[in-house]
């Protein structure tokens, strides 16, 4: 059997490897909150917020659903999979749509209102959850009317924001290990940096892709 590896394959292998690694880390993070514990990890410094029932619900629904939203990246971008097993793409797509619109984005918005780091961070997370919802919904609408070019573009945007869960933490890690900045100051930076850059990159890519 002859094995030929071309440039496109390499790009996808790299993408999946990175996604696999970071998804694994996100799984580890999620598992810290299983079973439900109001005084663990991040919640240890949200003690003033976790007393509220609405925050309890928002936090745990967000943490429990987001990992599955992230996993969509493994199935939905594969052209091969979409052509061979359409049903997987459909089901995966609907799962992605509903988990975001009904669970992850609204809960993210509620958490955003209570975010650490003052008004700036609160605004950042709330805008993030709104854009996330809008892009995901528009992607759905485009698919309904079979405008797959728009569907792909909006899903790229939507997933770029989904990936902010990873990029936010990666930036935090980088900034602190290089600059040793104070914790909340860092948080204020990554609240924006974690997703705005993702959007800019994907918009750039979409424009180049359109021309090419």
């Amino acid at each position: 059997m002859v094995l030929t590896i071309n440039k496109r394959d390499v790009k996808w292998v790299v993408f999946y490897l990175c996604l696999l690694y970071f998804t694994y880390l996100m799984v580890l993070i999620t598992l810290q909150y299983v079973p439900i514990n109001f005084d663990v990890a991040f919640l240890r410094i949200k003690q003033e917020q976790i007393v509220y029932m609405h925050y309890k619900i928002a936090f745990f629904s967000h943490v429990y659903s987001s990992i599955f939203v992230l996993l969509a990246g493994f199935t939905q971008f594969s052209e091969h999979l979409r052509k061979r097993w359409r049903i997987v793409h459909r089901v995966g797509g609907y799962l992605y749509l509903f988990l975001i619109l009904i669970v992850a984005a609204p809960s993210g918005f509620i958490m955003g209102i209570h975010a650490n780091g003052g008004l700036s961070s609160k605004i950042a997370f709330c805008i993030l959850s709104i854009l996330w919802s809008v892009f995901t919904f528009k992607a759905f609408l485009s698919a309904l009317r079979s405008d797959f070019k728009a569907h792909r573009a909006f899903m790229y945007r939507s997933y770029a924001l989904t990936l902010s869960a990873i990029t936010l933490r990666a930036w935090k890690w980088l900034i602190i290990n290089v600059f040793e900045t104070a914790p909340i100051d860092t948080y204020k930076i990554v609240a924006w940096l974690g997703w705005v850059l993702n959007l800019l990159v994907i918009e750039l890519y979409l424009r180049i892709d359109r021309k090419g």
Partner: protein, 313 residues
């Protein structure tokens, strides 16, 4: 086929990222009750204000000073001059004389956070008071104190010899009496600077564990708060560096005269003019405000320790 390759490579990556999202928390130094029996919690009774000994009763109280390795002995001298960890053997002693009845003396010693009871006697030779006090002997580092102080003098001069075979088996000391008083207003005067810059350094020497918690250095912000006077809020604490939080918490113990086990902390607080390492257990003496602050600071300290510079939370 290509997919199989991806899975294979990823499995290799998996093996290496166990603690990528969280750091293991270190054993925290907290003043703890070592023994609960009456004898072990004695403190000096009826301490006179005289720092000069006019009468035997003036000897009751805390006598503090350096507890130096005896370099008159060649073995010890050589060890102190050549061993890389020799600096850890410079300690401070609080020789507390708690009560004297007849010629019987009861007291305790406090060295690096360890408290040992003392029992013995004294006699008056001329105008000198000569003491012999013994530690129980069931601890590897127990020994005997022999010292004298002259009438109308203010300094105790003496030696200590261990019962067992340890590296530094003989020490000398010159002690002065101090009238220790807790004062919540005592403020930090210098910055804590960690020379090692190591995250955690656990050393074993003669089965005695030195747990050094290294938290880099404090910032200017550490001078803005007195953790014994003002109730700290989340807004005060959440943006502080690890070292700031660490020192703010330990400064509460320091104000109560806690003798730190950690050498880094011990050295740091000795730079503060008001600090005396005289007690090994101050938990019962903490004020309600201090307990609140300790609880909050511990929460943020653990958080900083586990999650500050890692990927996850």
């Amino acid at each position: 086929m290509k997919f199989i390759f991806s899975i294979f490579f990823s499995l290799i990556l998996f093996a290496s990222c166990q603690e990528a999202i969280k750091k293991k928390p270190v054993q925290k130094e907290e003043p703890a009750v070592v023994n609960t029996s009456y004898l072990y919690s004695m403190e000096p009774r009826n301490v006179s204000n005289n720092l000069i000994v006019k009468d035997i009763s003036d000897l009751i109280g805390y006598w503090v000073g350096d507890f130096e390795p005896d370099e008159n002995d060649n073995l010890i001298k050589e060890f102190m001059e050549t061993d890389k960890s020799a600096w850890k053997f410079y300690k401070k002693l609080n020789l507390s004389i708690d009560s004297i009845s007849g010629d019987s003396v009861f007291g305790h010693s406090v060295v690096s956070g360890t408290r040992r009871p003392l029992n013995g006697n004294y006699k008056k030779e001329g105008n000198s008071y000569v003491f012999l006090l013994l530690e129980p002997g069931d601890d590897k580092f127990d020994g005997k104190f022999q010292f004298t102080i002259n009438e109308n003098d203010s300094e105790i001069v003496g030696t200590w010899k261990s019962f067992g075979k340890i590296k530094v088996f003989s020490r000398t000391y010159n002690l002065r009496k101090i009238l220790f008083k807790y004062n919540a207003n005592n403020a930090l005067e210098s910055r804590y600077i960690d020379g090692n810059k190591m995250k955690e350094n656990k050393l074993k020497y003669e089965d005695e564990e030195y747990i050094e918690e290294s938290y880099f250095s404090t910032s200017e912000l550490v001078f803005d708060y007195n953790s014994s006077l003002k109730e700290l809020k989340i807004k005060d604490v959440e943006n502080l560096s690890k070292a700031d939080i660490y020192i703010l918490r330990n400064s509460i113990y320091a104000r109560h005269g806690y003798s730190f086990k950690s050498i880094q902390l011990s050295n740091y607080f000795q730079e503060q003019s008001w600090y005396y390492p005289v007690k090994s257990d101050i938990k019962k003496e903490l004020s309600a405000l201090e307990k609140k602050n300790i609880s909050l600071l511990m929460r943020y300290e653990k958080n900083a320790e586990e999650y500050y510079d890692v990927f996850g939370r």
